[in-house]
Protein backbone atom coordinates (compact mmCIF):
# COMPACT_ATOMS: atom_id res chain seq x y z
CA UNK A 1 0.00 0.00 0.00
CA UNK A 2 1.23 3.50 0.56
CA UNK A 3 4.87 3.51 1.28
CA UNK A 4 6.36 6.41 3.16
CA UNK A 5 8.01 7.65 0.03
CA UNK A 6 4.94 7.45 -2.11
CA UNK A 7 2.88 9.11 0.57
CA UNK A 8 5.14 12.13 0.43
CA UNK A 9 4.66 12.18 -3.27
CA UNK A 10 0.95 11.85 -2.78
CA UNK A 11 0.76 15.07 -0.89
CA UNK A 12 2.23 16.84 -3.87
CA UNK A 13 0.50 15.12 -6.72
CA UNK A 14 -2.24 12.64 -7.33
CA UNK A 15 -1.91 11.40 -10.84
CA UNK A 16 -2.05 8.31 -12.92
CA UNK A 17 1.17 6.93 -14.24
CA UNK A 18 -0.40 6.80 -17.67
CA UNK A 19 -1.31 10.48 -17.43
CA UNK A 20 2.23 11.48 -16.65
CA UNK A 21 2.99 13.19 -19.94
CA UNK A 22 0.16 15.63 -19.27
CA UNK A 23 1.40 16.58 -15.84
CA UNK A 24 3.81 19.48 -15.57
CA UNK A 25 7.19 18.34 -14.39
CA UNK A 26 7.77 18.99 -10.71
CA UNK A 27 11.04 18.65 -8.93
CA UNK A 28 11.20 15.95 -6.26
CA UNK A 29 7.82 14.48 -7.14
CA UNK A 30 6.60 11.67 -9.30
CA UNK A 31 3.52 9.77 -10.19
CA UNK A 32 1.42 8.39 -7.38
CA UNK A 33 1.91 4.69 -6.90
CA UNK A 34 -0.18 3.17 -4.20
CA UNK A 35 1.48 -0.19 -3.77
CA UNK A 36 -1.05 -2.37 -2.00
CA UNK A 37 1.52 -4.71 -0.60
CA UNK A 38 3.37 -2.94 2.15
CA UNK A 39 0.67 -1.67 4.46
CA UNK A 40 -0.97 1.69 4.60
CA UNK A 41 0.76 4.33 6.58
CA UNK A 42 -2.02 6.85 6.34
CA UNK A 43 -5.23 6.62 4.34
CA UNK A 44 -5.61 9.05 1.48
CA UNK A 45 -8.16 11.77 2.24
CA UNK A 46 -10.95 12.20 -0.29
CA UNK A 47 -14.08 14.31 -0.57
CA UNK A 48 -17.30 13.19 -2.19
CA UNK A 49 -19.98 15.91 -2.06
CA UNK A 50 -23.46 14.41 -2.37
CA UNK A 51 -24.10 13.66 -6.01
CA UNK A 52 -26.42 16.16 -7.63
CA UNK A 53 -29.92 14.94 -8.45
CA UNK A 54 -30.73 16.20 -11.93
CA UNK A 55 -34.43 15.69 -11.35
CA UNK A 56 -36.76 14.84 -8.49
CA UNK A 57 -36.90 11.16 -9.37
CA UNK A 58 -33.17 10.87 -8.82
CA UNK A 59 -32.98 12.43 -5.36
CA UNK A 60 -32.99 9.26 -3.29
CA UNK A 61 -30.71 7.42 -5.70
CA UNK A 62 -28.21 10.29 -5.71
CA UNK A 63 -27.92 10.18 -1.92
CA UNK A 64 -27.75 6.36 -1.80
CA UNK A 65 -25.16 6.12 -4.55
CA UNK A 66 -22.94 8.73 -2.89
CA UNK A 67 -23.16 6.82 0.39
CA UNK A 68 -22.22 3.47 -1.20
CA UNK A 69 -19.29 4.90 -3.16
CA UNK A 70 -17.89 6.46 0.00
CA UNK A 71 -18.41 3.23 1.97
CA UNK A 72 -16.61 1.21 -0.72
CA UNK A 73 -13.59 3.48 -0.61
CA UNK A 74 -13.46 3.78 3.17
CA UNK A 75 -13.78 0.01 3.50
CA UNK A 76 -10.49 -0.55 1.73
CA UNK A 77 -8.58 1.10 4.53
CA UNK A 78 -6.71 3.03 1.85
CA UNK A 79 -8.96 6.07 1.84
CA UNK A 80 -10.31 8.43 4.48
CA UNK A 81 -13.48 10.38 3.80
CA UNK A 82 -13.56 14.06 4.70
CA UNK A 83 -17.06 14.65 6.06
CA UNK A 84 -19.32 16.90 4.08
CA UNK A 85 -19.70 19.19 7.09
CA UNK A 86 -16.03 20.11 6.67
CA UNK A 87 -16.38 21.06 3.01
CA UNK A 88 -15.86 24.71 2.11
CA UNK A 89 -17.04 24.53 -1.47
CA UNK A 90 -20.27 22.95 -2.51
CA UNK A 91 -20.84 21.42 -5.93
CA UNK A 92 -23.92 23.04 -7.42
CA UNK A 93 -23.57 21.81 -10.99
CA UNK A 94 -21.79 18.78 -12.43
CA UNK A 95 -19.92 20.89 -14.98
CA UNK A 96 -19.13 23.84 -12.72
CA UNK A 97 -15.43 24.73 -12.38
CA UNK A 98 -13.71 23.14 -9.39
CA UNK A 99 -12.56 25.55 -6.69
CA UNK A 100 -9.34 23.64 -6.05
CA UNK A 101 -8.20 25.97 -3.30
CA UNK A 102 -11.24 25.16 -1.21
CA UNK A 103 -10.52 21.42 -1.47
CA UNK A 104 -6.79 21.90 -0.85
CA UNK A 105 -7.67 23.87 2.27
CA UNK A 106 -9.32 20.83 3.83
CA UNK A 107 -6.54 18.57 2.52
CA UNK A 108 -8.76 16.57 0.22
CA UNK A 109 -6.37 14.89 -2.19
CA UNK A 110 -9.04 13.30 -4.34
CA UNK A 111 -12.39 14.87 -5.15
CA UNK A 112 -15.28 12.87 -6.59
CA UNK A 113 -18.08 14.84 -8.23
CA UNK A 114 -21.19 13.30 -9.69
CA UNK A 115 -24.78 13.62 -10.68
CA UNK A 116 -27.70 11.24 -11.08
CA UNK A 117 -30.58 11.56 -13.51
CA UNK A 118 -33.75 9.50 -13.62
CA UNK A 119 -35.23 8.88 -17.03
CA UNK A 120 -38.04 6.47 -17.79
CA UNK A 121 -37.30 4.19 -14.85
CA UNK A 122 -33.58 4.15 -15.60
CA UNK A 123 -30.78 5.91 -13.83
CA UNK A 124 -27.93 7.76 -15.46
CA UNK A 125 -24.92 8.24 -13.18
CA UNK A 126 -22.07 10.56 -14.18
CA UNK A 127 -18.92 11.22 -12.25
CA UNK A 128 -15.54 12.89 -12.44
CA UNK A 129 -12.45 12.36 -10.31
CA UNK A 130 -10.05 15.23 -9.61
CA UNK A 131 -6.50 15.35 -8.33
CA UNK A 132 -6.91 18.33 -6.03
CA UNK A 133 -3.26 19.26 -5.57
CA UNK A 134 -2.27 19.03 -9.20
CA UNK A 135 -5.58 20.68 -10.13
CA UNK A 136 -6.26 18.13 -12.83
CA UNK A 137 -9.01 15.68 -13.66
CA UNK A 138 -7.80 12.15 -12.96
CA UNK A 139 -9.01 10.24 -15.97
CA UNK A 140 -12.10 10.90 -18.04
CA UNK A 141 -15.56 11.65 -16.80
CA UNK A 142 -17.72 8.55 -17.09
CA UNK A 143 -21.41 7.80 -17.35
CA UNK A 144 -23.23 4.64 -16.30
CA UNK A 145 -26.79 3.82 -17.28
CA UNK A 146 -28.86 1.12 -15.69
CA UNK A 147 -32.19 0.12 -14.20
CA UNK A 148 -33.20 1.90 -11.03
CA UNK A 149 -32.91 -1.28 -8.98
CA UNK A 150 -29.33 -1.60 -10.15
CA UNK A 151 -28.23 1.56 -8.35
CA UNK A 152 -25.88 -0.31 -6.04
CA UNK A 153 -23.98 -1.80 -8.95
CA UNK A 154 -23.62 1.63 -10.54
CA UNK A 155 -22.25 2.99 -7.26
CA UNK A 156 -19.79 0.09 -7.06
CA UNK A 157 -18.76 0.77 -10.67
CA UNK A 158 -17.93 4.39 -9.82
CA UNK A 159 -15.97 3.30 -6.74
CA UNK A 160 -14.11 0.69 -8.82
CA UNK A 161 -13.10 3.43 -11.26
CA UNK A 162 -11.87 5.71 -8.50
CA UNK A 163 -9.95 2.89 -6.84
CA UNK A 164 -8.33 1.83 -10.11
CA UNK A 165 -7.30 5.34 -11.11
CA UNK A 166 -5.64 6.02 -7.78
CA UNK A 167 -4.10 2.64 -6.97
CA UNK A 168 -3.47 1.22 -10.42
CA UNK A 169 -5.06 -2.03 -9.15
CA UNK A 170 -8.33 -3.51 -10.32
CA UNK A 171 -11.38 -2.59 -8.26
CA UNK A 172 -13.33 -5.25 -6.42
CA UNK A 173 -16.56 -3.53 -5.40
CA UNK A 174 -18.85 -4.73 -8.21
CA UNK A 175 -18.58 -8.31 -6.99
CA UNK A 176 -20.57 -10.87 -5.06
CA UNK A 177 -19.80 -13.45 -2.41
CA UNK A 178 -21.32 -16.91 -2.13
CA UNK A 179 -21.10 -18.38 1.35
CA UNK A 180 -22.66 -20.83 3.80
CA UNK A 181 -25.31 -19.34 6.08
CA UNK A 182 -25.45 -21.13 9.42
CA UNK A 183 -28.18 -21.42 12.04
CA UNK A 184 -28.73 -23.34 15.24
CA UNK A 185 -26.57 -24.63 18.07
CA UNK A 186 -23.12 -26.01 17.48
CA UNK A 187 -24.21 -29.65 17.76
CA UNK A 188 -27.28 -29.20 15.54
CA UNK A 189 -26.03 -26.71 12.99
CA UNK A 190 -28.07 -26.08 9.86
CA UNK A 191 -26.34 -24.81 6.74
CA UNK A 192 -27.56 -23.34 3.49
CA UNK A 193 -25.96 -21.62 0.54
CA UNK A 194 -26.43 -17.88 0.19
CA UNK A 195 -25.14 -15.19 -2.10
CA UNK A 196 -24.76 -11.45 -1.48
CA UNK A 197 -22.99 -8.38 -2.76
CA UNK A 198 -19.43 -8.14 -1.48
CA UNK A 199 -20.60 -5.54 1.08
CA UNK A 200 -23.41 -7.70 2.48
CA UNK A 201 -26.28 -6.17 0.51
CA UNK A 202 -28.84 -8.13 -1.52
CA UNK A 203 -28.66 -11.44 0.31
CA UNK A 204 -30.35 -14.32 -1.47
CA UNK A 205 -30.58 -17.92 -0.27
CA UNK A 206 -29.75 -20.57 -2.84
CA UNK A 207 -30.61 -23.75 -0.96
CA UNK A 208 -32.78 -24.65 2.02
CA UNK A 209 -31.23 -26.07 5.17
CA UNK A 210 -32.38 -29.67 4.75
CA UNK A 211 -29.00 -30.85 3.49
CA UNK A 212 -25.55 -30.05 4.77
CA UNK A 213 -23.63 -27.90 2.27
CA UNK A 214 -19.96 -26.95 2.27
CA UNK A 215 -17.47 -24.69 0.57
CA UNK A 216 -19.13 -23.15 -2.51
CA UNK A 217 -16.83 -21.69 -5.20
CA UNK A 218 -17.59 -19.42 -8.14
CA UNK A 219 -16.90 -20.25 -11.74
CA UNK A 220 -14.38 -17.94 -13.44
CA UNK A 221 -17.26 -16.02 -15.01
CA UNK A 222 -19.30 -15.87 -11.81
CA UNK A 223 -22.44 -17.38 -13.30
CA UNK A 224 -22.07 -20.81 -11.73
CA UNK A 225 -21.22 -22.23 -8.32
CA UNK A 226 -19.63 -25.56 -7.49
CA UNK A 227 -20.09 -26.91 -3.95
CA UNK A 228 -20.46 -30.00 -1.78
CA UNK A 229 -23.88 -31.19 -0.61
CA UNK A 230 -25.01 -34.20 1.41
CA UNK A 231 -28.42 -34.26 -0.24
CA UNK A 232 -27.83 -37.67 -1.82
CA UNK A 233 -26.81 -39.04 1.57
CA UNK A 234 -23.11 -38.83 0.78
CA UNK A 235 -20.95 -35.75 0.32
CA UNK A 236 -21.10 -35.06 -3.39
CA UNK A 237 -20.13 -32.20 -5.69
CA UNK A 238 -22.98 -30.15 -7.18
CA UNK A 239 -23.10 -27.49 -9.85
CA UNK A 240 -25.52 -24.58 -9.57
CA UNK A 241 -26.56 -21.94 -12.08
CA UNK A 242 -26.72 -18.65 -10.18
CA UNK A 243 -29.33 -16.90 -12.32
CA UNK A 244 -31.86 -19.73 -12.28
CA UNK A 245 -30.82 -21.27 -8.93
CA UNK A 246 -30.99 -24.72 -10.50
CA UNK A 247 -28.55 -27.42 -9.47
CA UNK A 248 -27.41 -30.84 -10.52
CA UNK A 249 -24.79 -33.32 -9.36
CA UNK A 250 -21.53 -32.83 -11.21
CA UNK A 251 -21.44 -36.56 -11.81
CA UNK A 252 -24.05 -39.26 -11.53
CA UNK A 253 -24.09 -40.66 -8.01
CA UNK A 254 -22.61 -44.12 -7.93
CA UNK A 255 -22.67 -44.77 -4.20
CA UNK A 256 -19.74 -45.45 -1.97
CA UNK A 257 -17.72 -42.49 -3.17
CA UNK A 258 -17.44 -39.19 -1.40
CA UNK A 259 -16.56 -36.20 -3.56
CA UNK A 260 -15.79 -32.79 -2.08
CA UNK A 261 -13.46 -29.78 -2.20
CA UNK A 262 -14.34 -28.79 -5.79
CA UNK A 263 -12.94 -25.86 -7.71
CA UNK A 264 -13.25 -24.77 -11.32
CA UNK A 265 -10.30 -24.75 -13.66
CA UNK A 266 -9.45 -21.24 -14.94
CA UNK A 267 -11.19 -21.87 -18.28
CA UNK A 268 -14.37 -22.88 -16.46
CA UNK A 269 -14.62 -26.04 -18.52
CA UNK A 270 -13.56 -28.50 -15.85
CA UNK A 271 -13.76 -29.06 -12.14
CA UNK A 272 -11.07 -30.48 -9.89
CA UNK A 273 -12.19 -32.12 -6.69
CA UNK A 274 -11.23 -34.65 -4.07
CA UNK A 275 -12.66 -38.13 -3.89
CA UNK A 276 -12.35 -40.40 -0.86
CA UNK A 277 -12.34 -44.10 -1.60
CA UNK A 278 -11.49 -46.67 1.03
CA UNK A 279 -9.92 -44.07 3.28
CA UNK A 280 -7.63 -42.69 0.58
CA UNK A 281 -8.37 -39.23 -0.80
CA UNK A 282 -7.01 -38.14 -4.17
CA UNK A 283 -7.63 -35.30 -6.62
CA UNK A 284 -9.52 -35.81 -9.86
CA UNK A 285 -10.59 -33.65 -12.76
CA UNK A 286 -13.76 -33.94 -14.82
CA UNK A 287 -15.47 -31.77 -17.42
CA UNK A 288 -18.45 -29.72 -16.24
CA UNK A 289 -20.52 -31.67 -18.75
CA UNK A 290 -19.37 -34.96 -17.28
CA UNK A 291 -17.28 -37.54 -19.06
CA UNK A 292 -14.31 -39.48 -17.85
CA UNK A 293 -12.43 -38.53 -14.72
CA UNK A 294 -8.74 -37.88 -14.85
CA UNK A 295 -6.89 -38.82 -11.69
CA UNK A 296 -4.29 -36.16 -10.89
CA UNK A 297 -2.75 -37.53 -7.68
CA UNK A 298 -2.09 -41.14 -6.74
CA UNK A 299 -0.50 -41.09 -3.28
CA UNK A 300 -2.03 -43.25 -0.50
CA UNK A 301 -2.32 -40.11 1.66
CA UNK A 302 -4.90 -37.31 1.78
CA UNK A 303 -4.70 -35.00 -1.23
CA UNK A 304 -7.30 -32.26 -1.24
CA UNK A 305 -8.05 -28.52 -1.68
CA UNK A 306 -6.84 -28.18 -5.30
CA UNK A 307 -6.55 -24.74 -6.91
CA UNK A 308 -5.14 -23.79 -10.30
CA UNK A 309 -2.74 -21.05 -11.30
CA UNK A 310 -4.61 -18.45 -13.37
CA UNK A 311 -2.86 -19.58 -16.57
CA UNK A 312 -4.02 -23.13 -15.90
CA UNK A 313 -0.53 -24.58 -16.09
CA UNK A 314 -0.08 -25.56 -12.45
CA UNK A 315 -2.14 -26.86 -9.57
CA UNK A 316 -1.58 -26.23 -5.87
CA UNK A 317 -3.08 -28.57 -3.26
CA UNK A 318 -2.53 -29.91 0.22
CA UNK A 319 -1.29 -33.35 1.16
CA UNK A 320 -0.36 -35.15 4.37
CA UNK A 321 1.99 -37.53 2.60
CA UNK A 322 4.81 -36.61 4.97
CA UNK A 323 2.64 -36.75 8.08
CA UNK A 324 0.99 -33.37 8.51
CA UNK A 325 -0.76 -31.18 5.96
CA UNK A 326 1.64 -29.35 3.64
CA UNK A 327 1.24 -27.46 0.38
CA UNK A 328 2.42 -28.83 -2.96
CA UNK A 329 2.51 -27.54 -6.53
CA UNK A 330 2.42 -29.80 -9.57
CA UNK A 331 1.94 -29.44 -13.32
CA UNK A 332 -1.77 -29.26 -14.13
CA UNK A 333 -1.68 -32.33 -16.33
CA UNK A 334 0.05 -34.46 -13.73
CA UNK A 335 3.62 -34.97 -12.63
CA UNK A 336 5.77 -34.86 -9.57
CA UNK A 337 4.47 -32.48 -6.86
CA UNK A 338 6.94 -30.12 -5.24
CA UNK A 339 6.40 -29.15 -1.64
CA UNK A 340 6.43 -25.38 -1.23
CA UNK A 341 5.40 -24.87 2.42
CA UNK A 342 8.54 -24.75 4.51
CA UNK A 343 7.70 -23.42 7.95
CA UNK A 344 6.71 -25.30 11.07
CA UNK A 345 3.09 -26.25 11.58
CA UNK A 346 0.48 -27.47 9.14
CA UNK A 347 -0.59 -25.81 5.92
CA UNK A 348 -3.88 -26.33 4.13
CA UNK A 349 -6.51 -24.83 1.80
CA UNK A 350 -4.09 -23.23 -0.67
CA UNK A 351 -5.66 -20.83 -3.16
CA UNK A 352 -3.78 -19.35 -6.07
CA UNK A 353 -4.20 -15.59 -6.43
CA UNK A 354 -6.06 -14.50 -9.57
CA UNK A 355 -3.00 -12.32 -10.25
CA UNK A 356 -0.75 -15.34 -10.07
CA UNK A 357 1.73 -13.82 -7.66
CA UNK A 358 0.76 -15.37 -4.32
CA UNK A 359 -0.82 -18.44 -2.81
CA UNK A 360 -3.08 -17.88 0.19
CA UNK A 361 -3.41 -20.63 2.78
CA UNK A 362 -4.55 -21.67 6.24
CA UNK A 363 -1.78 -22.38 8.72
CA UNK A 364 -2.24 -24.28 11.94
CA UNK A 365 0.46 -24.08 14.57
CA UNK A 366 0.57 -24.38 18.34
CA UNK A 367 -3.20 -24.43 18.66
CA UNK A 368 -3.74 -21.27 16.61
CA UNK A 369 -4.93 -20.77 13.06
CA UNK A 370 -3.65 -18.20 10.61
CA UNK A 371 -4.48 -16.95 7.16
CA UNK A 372 -1.30 -16.29 5.24
CA UNK A 373 0.19 -15.70 1.84
CA UNK A 374 3.38 -16.94 0.23
CA UNK A 375 4.99 -16.65 -3.15
CA UNK A 376 4.18 -19.49 -5.49
CA UNK A 377 7.56 -21.09 -4.74
CA UNK A 378 6.88 -20.94 -1.01
CA UNK A 379 9.10 -17.98 -0.26
CA UNK A 380 8.13 -14.77 1.56
CA UNK A 381 5.59 -16.46 3.80
CA UNK A 382 3.55 -13.83 5.62
CA UNK A 383 0.86 -14.57 8.20
CA UNK A 384 -1.96 -12.03 8.04
CA UNK A 385 -4.23 -13.15 10.89
CA UNK A 386 -4.21 -15.21 14.07
CA UNK A 387 -7.13 -16.60 16.05
CA UNK A 388 -8.68 -19.68 17.56
CA UNK A 389 -9.85 -20.78 14.11
CA UNK A 390 -9.30 -18.95 10.83
CA UNK A 391 -9.59 -20.94 7.62
CA UNK A 392 -10.47 -21.01 3.95
CA UNK A 393 -9.15 -17.84 2.27
CA UNK A 394 -10.73 -16.56 -0.95
CA UNK A 395 -9.24 -13.84 -3.14
CA UNK A 396 -10.78 -10.59 -4.28
CA UNK A 397 -10.50 -10.45 -8.05
CA UNK A 398 -7.61 -7.98 -7.81
CA UNK A 399 -5.55 -10.36 -5.69
CA UNK A 400 -4.99 -7.77 -2.98
CA UNK A 401 -7.72 -8.60 -0.44
CA UNK A 402 -8.86 -11.89 1.09
CA UNK A 403 -12.00 -13.07 2.82
CA UNK A 404 -12.00 -16.08 5.13
CA UNK A 405 -13.94 -17.84 7.90
CA UNK A 406 -13.23 -16.98 11.54
CA UNK A 407 -14.86 -19.16 14.16
CA UNK A 408 -14.90 -18.39 17.86
CA UNK A 409 -14.20 -20.99 20.55
CA UNK A 410 -16.42 -22.74 23.00
CA UNK A 411 -19.95 -24.07 23.24
CA UNK A 412 -21.29 -20.83 21.80
CA UNK A 413 -18.62 -20.68 19.12
CA UNK A 414 -19.88 -19.14 15.89
CA UNK A 415 -18.41 -18.56 12.45
CA UNK A 416 -18.27 -15.21 10.66
CA UNK A 417 -16.72 -13.93 7.45
CA UNK A 418 -13.79 -11.54 7.71
CA UNK A 419 -11.65 -9.70 5.20
CA UNK A 420 -8.04 -8.62 5.37
CA UNK A 421 -5.63 -7.19 2.83
CA UNK A 422 -2.46 -9.00 1.88
CA UNK A 423 -0.36 -6.71 4.02
CA UNK A 424 -2.31 -7.99 7.05
CA UNK A 425 -4.02 -4.65 7.57
CA UNK A 426 -7.64 -3.60 7.50
CA UNK A 427 -9.05 -6.71 9.18
CA UNK A 428 -12.83 -6.35 9.08
CA UNK A 429 -15.89 -8.44 9.74
CA UNK A 430 -17.99 -8.72 6.59
CA UNK A 431 -21.70 -8.02 7.02
CA UNK A 432 -23.78 -11.21 6.80
CA UNK A 433 -27.36 -11.96 7.85
CA UNK A 434 -26.22 -14.33 10.61
CA UNK A 435 -23.50 -16.88 11.21
CA UNK A 436 -21.58 -17.41 7.98
CA UNK A 437 -18.66 -19.46 6.72
CA UNK A 438 -16.84 -20.61 3.59
CA UNK A 439 -16.95 -17.38 1.54
CA UNK A 440 -16.02 -17.44 -2.14
CA UNK A 441 -15.40 -14.11 -3.84
CA UNK A 442 -16.73 -13.73 -7.37
CA UNK A 443 -14.82 -12.25 -10.26
CA UNK A 444 -15.77 -8.72 -11.32
CA UNK A 445 -19.31 -8.92 -12.61
CA UNK A 446 -19.72 -8.59 -16.38
Amino acid sequence: MLTRRSLIRTTAALTLASALPLVPARAQTGPLRLEITEGVIEPLPFAIPSFIARNGGAADAAADITRVIAADLRGTGLFRQIPETAHISSITAFDAPIQYNDWQAINAQALIVGEVEESGGRLIVRFRLFDVFSQQPLGEGLQFVGPREGWRRMAHNVADQVYERITGEGGYFDTRVVFVHEEGPKNARLKRLAIMDYDGANVQFLTDSRSLVLAPRFSPTGDRIIYTSYESGQPQVYLMDVATVTRRPLEAFTGGEMTFSPRFTPDGGSVVFSMAQGGNTDIFRVGVGGGARTQLTTAPSIETAPSFSPDGSQMVFESDRTGGQQIYVMPAGGGEPQRISRGTGRYGTPVWSPRGDYIAFTKQEAGRFHIGVMRTNGSEERLLTASFLDEGPTWAPNGRVLMFTRETAGADGAPAVYSVDISGRNLQRVATPGMASDPSWSPRLP
Binding site: N187, A188, K191, L214, S274, A276, T362
Partner: protein, 168 residues
Protein backbone atom coordinates in the same frame (compact mmCIF):
# COMPACT_ATOMS: atom_id res chain seq x y z
CA UNK B 1 -30.98 -34.88 10.57
CA UNK B 2 -33.63 -32.45 11.51
CA UNK B 3 -33.07 -29.87 14.16
CA UNK B 4 -35.85 -31.34 16.26
CA UNK B 5 -34.32 -34.76 16.21
CA UNK B 6 -30.90 -33.53 17.13
CA UNK B 7 -32.21 -31.36 19.92
CA UNK B 8 -34.06 -34.26 21.45
CA UNK B 9 -31.02 -36.47 21.04
CA UNK B 10 -28.99 -33.94 22.99
CA UNK B 11 -31.40 -34.03 25.90
CA UNK B 12 -31.40 -37.80 25.81
CA UNK B 13 -27.63 -37.80 25.75
CA UNK B 14 -27.59 -35.96 29.03
CA UNK B 15 -30.09 -38.36 30.54
CA UNK B 16 -28.18 -41.41 29.37
CA UNK B 17 -24.88 -40.10 30.55
CA UNK B 18 -26.40 -39.97 34.00
CA UNK B 19 -27.77 -43.46 33.75
CA UNK B 20 -24.50 -44.72 32.38
CA UNK B 21 -22.72 -43.35 35.40
CA UNK B 22 -25.26 -44.96 37.66
CA UNK B 23 -24.79 -48.33 36.02
CA UNK B 24 -21.05 -48.00 36.13
CA UNK B 25 -20.55 -50.51 33.35
CA UNK B 26 -20.67 -48.20 30.35
CA UNK B 27 -17.88 -46.21 28.80
CA UNK B 28 -17.97 -42.56 27.84
CA UNK B 29 -18.66 -43.40 24.26
CA UNK B 30 -21.85 -45.12 25.25
CA UNK B 31 -23.46 -41.91 26.35
CA UNK B 32 -25.03 -41.44 22.95
CA UNK B 33 -26.94 -44.63 23.13
CA UNK B 34 -30.21 -42.99 23.53
CA UNK B 35 -31.45 -44.31 20.24
CA UNK B 36 -33.03 -46.94 22.42
CA UNK B 37 -35.59 -44.34 23.38
CA UNK B 38 -36.54 -44.00 19.73
CA UNK B 39 -38.22 -47.36 19.33
CA UNK B 40 -35.07 -49.33 18.60
CA UNK B 41 -35.81 -51.91 21.19
CA UNK B 42 -34.70 -52.42 24.77
CA UNK B 43 -31.10 -52.80 25.72
CA UNK B 44 -32.07 -56.01 27.49
CA UNK B 45 -32.88 -57.54 24.10
CA UNK B 46 -29.52 -58.69 22.67
CA UNK B 47 -30.84 -58.43 19.11
CA UNK B 48 -31.93 -54.81 19.46
CA UNK B 49 -30.21 -51.73 18.12
CA UNK B 50 -30.30 -50.41 21.66
CA UNK B 51 -28.25 -53.39 22.80
CA UNK B 52 -25.75 -52.82 20.01
CA UNK B 53 -25.43 -49.15 20.82
CA UNK B 54 -25.26 -49.44 24.58
CA UNK B 55 -23.88 -52.82 25.43
CA UNK B 56 -21.72 -53.70 22.45
CA UNK B 57 -20.74 -50.04 21.93
CA UNK B 58 -21.40 -48.26 18.67
CA UNK B 59 -18.30 -46.08 18.48
CA UNK B 60 -14.56 -45.96 18.70
CA UNK B 61 -12.39 -42.92 19.41
CA UNK B 62 -9.18 -41.74 17.79
CA UNK B 63 -6.10 -39.75 18.70
CA UNK B 64 -5.52 -36.34 17.09
CA UNK B 65 -5.07 -36.66 13.33
CA UNK B 66 -4.98 -40.44 13.61
CA UNK B 67 -7.08 -43.25 12.24
CA UNK B 68 -5.28 -46.01 14.12
CA UNK B 69 -7.46 -48.37 16.15
CA UNK B 70 -6.08 -48.82 19.66
CA UNK B 71 -6.65 -51.91 21.81
CA UNK B 72 -9.85 -50.54 23.28
CA UNK B 73 -11.19 -49.70 19.84
CA UNK B 74 -10.30 -53.14 18.54
CA UNK B 75 -12.09 -54.78 21.46
CA UNK B 76 -15.19 -52.73 20.74
CA UNK B 77 -15.04 -53.61 17.06
CA UNK B 78 -14.57 -57.30 17.86
CA UNK B 79 -17.85 -57.07 19.75
CA UNK B 80 -19.48 -55.20 16.88
CA UNK B 81 -18.35 -57.82 14.37
CA UNK B 82 -19.69 -60.62 16.48
CA UNK B 83 -23.02 -58.87 16.88
CA UNK B 84 -23.28 -57.94 13.21
CA UNK B 85 -22.61 -61.51 12.16
CA UNK B 86 -25.35 -62.73 14.49
CA UNK B 87 -27.77 -60.06 13.37
CA UNK B 88 -27.45 -60.05 9.64
CA UNK B 89 -30.76 -58.32 9.02
CA UNK B 90 -29.37 -54.92 9.96
CA UNK B 91 -27.97 -52.37 7.52
CA UNK B 92 -24.72 -50.76 8.60
CA UNK B 93 -23.29 -47.31 7.97
CA UNK B 94 -20.01 -46.23 9.52
CA UNK B 95 -19.73 -42.49 10.14
CA UNK B 96 -16.29 -40.92 10.42
CA UNK B 97 -15.94 -37.68 12.37
CA UNK B 98 -13.23 -35.21 13.36
CA UNK B 99 -12.86 -32.56 16.02
CA UNK B 100 -13.00 -28.88 15.14
CA UNK B 101 -9.24 -28.41 15.16
CA UNK B 102 -8.62 -28.70 11.47
CA UNK B 103 -9.61 -27.31 8.14
CA UNK B 104 -12.98 -28.35 6.80
CA UNK B 105 -11.91 -30.36 3.80
CA UNK B 106 -9.03 -32.13 5.45
CA UNK B 107 -11.41 -33.20 8.19
CA UNK B 108 -13.78 -34.69 5.62
CA UNK B 109 -10.89 -36.76 4.31
CA UNK B 110 -9.76 -37.63 7.83
CA UNK B 111 -13.27 -38.78 8.75
CA UNK B 112 -13.31 -40.93 5.64
CA UNK B 113 -10.02 -42.47 6.74
CA UNK B 114 -11.42 -43.25 10.19
CA UNK B 115 -14.61 -44.75 8.82
CA UNK B 116 -12.56 -46.83 6.43
CA UNK B 117 -10.31 -48.07 9.24
CA UNK B 118 -13.37 -49.35 11.09
CA UNK B 119 -14.80 -50.87 7.94
CA UNK B 120 -11.57 -52.68 7.14
CA UNK B 121 -11.36 -54.02 10.67
CA UNK B 122 -14.91 -55.33 10.62
CA UNK B 123 -14.26 -56.97 7.26
CA UNK B 124 -11.14 -58.58 8.72
CA UNK B 125 -13.40 -60.03 11.40
CA UNK B 126 -15.70 -61.58 8.85
CA UNK B 127 -18.41 -58.97 8.30
CA UNK B 128 -19.24 -59.01 4.57
CA UNK B 129 -17.86 -55.86 2.92
CA UNK B 130 -21.08 -55.47 1.01
CA UNK B 131 -22.99 -54.75 4.23
CA UNK B 132 -20.75 -51.88 5.23
CA UNK B 133 -21.19 -48.35 3.91
CA UNK B 134 -19.04 -45.45 5.04
CA UNK B 135 -19.62 -41.73 5.20
CA UNK B 136 -17.58 -38.83 6.55
CA UNK B 137 -18.98 -35.77 8.26
CA UNK B 138 -15.59 -34.22 8.98
CA UNK B 139 -16.03 -31.67 11.75
CA UNK B 140 -19.62 -30.90 10.77
CA UNK B 141 -21.40 -33.05 13.38
CA UNK B 142 -19.81 -32.63 16.80
CA UNK B 143 -21.60 -34.30 19.70
CA UNK B 144 -19.66 -32.36 22.32
CA UNK B 145 -19.39 -28.63 21.87
CA UNK B 146 -16.73 -27.28 24.19
CA UNK B 147 -13.40 -26.25 22.67
CA UNK B 148 -11.30 -28.43 24.93
CA UNK B 149 -9.68 -31.82 24.64
CA UNK B 150 -12.40 -33.40 26.79
CA UNK B 151 -14.87 -32.63 24.01
CA UNK B 152 -12.49 -33.07 21.12
CA UNK B 153 -11.72 -36.65 22.09
CA UNK B 154 -15.43 -37.53 22.02
CA UNK B 155 -15.77 -35.95 18.59
CA UNK B 156 -12.84 -37.81 17.01
CA UNK B 157 -14.95 -40.87 16.47
CA UNK B 158 -16.28 -43.44 14.10
CA UNK B 159 -19.84 -44.51 14.83
CA UNK B 160 -21.30 -47.73 13.53
CA UNK B 161 -24.92 -46.94 12.82
CA UNK B 162 -27.13 -49.99 12.46
CA UNK B 163 -30.67 -49.79 11.28
CA UNK B 164 -33.25 -52.41 10.62
CA UNK B 165 -33.30 -53.21 6.95
CA UNK B 166 -31.62 -55.24 4.26
CA UNK B 167 -28.00 -55.56 5.20
CA UNK B 168 -26.53 -56.05 1.82
Amino acid sequence: MTLRFRASALILTAALALSACAQGGLRDGDAVNLNAQGGLGAASDPTSVAYFNQVVGDRVLFAVDQSTLDAQAQATLDGQAQWLLSNSEYAIQIEGHADEQGTREYNIALGARRASAVRDYLVSRGVPAGRLNTISYGKERPIEICSEESCYRQNRRAVTVVSFGPGA
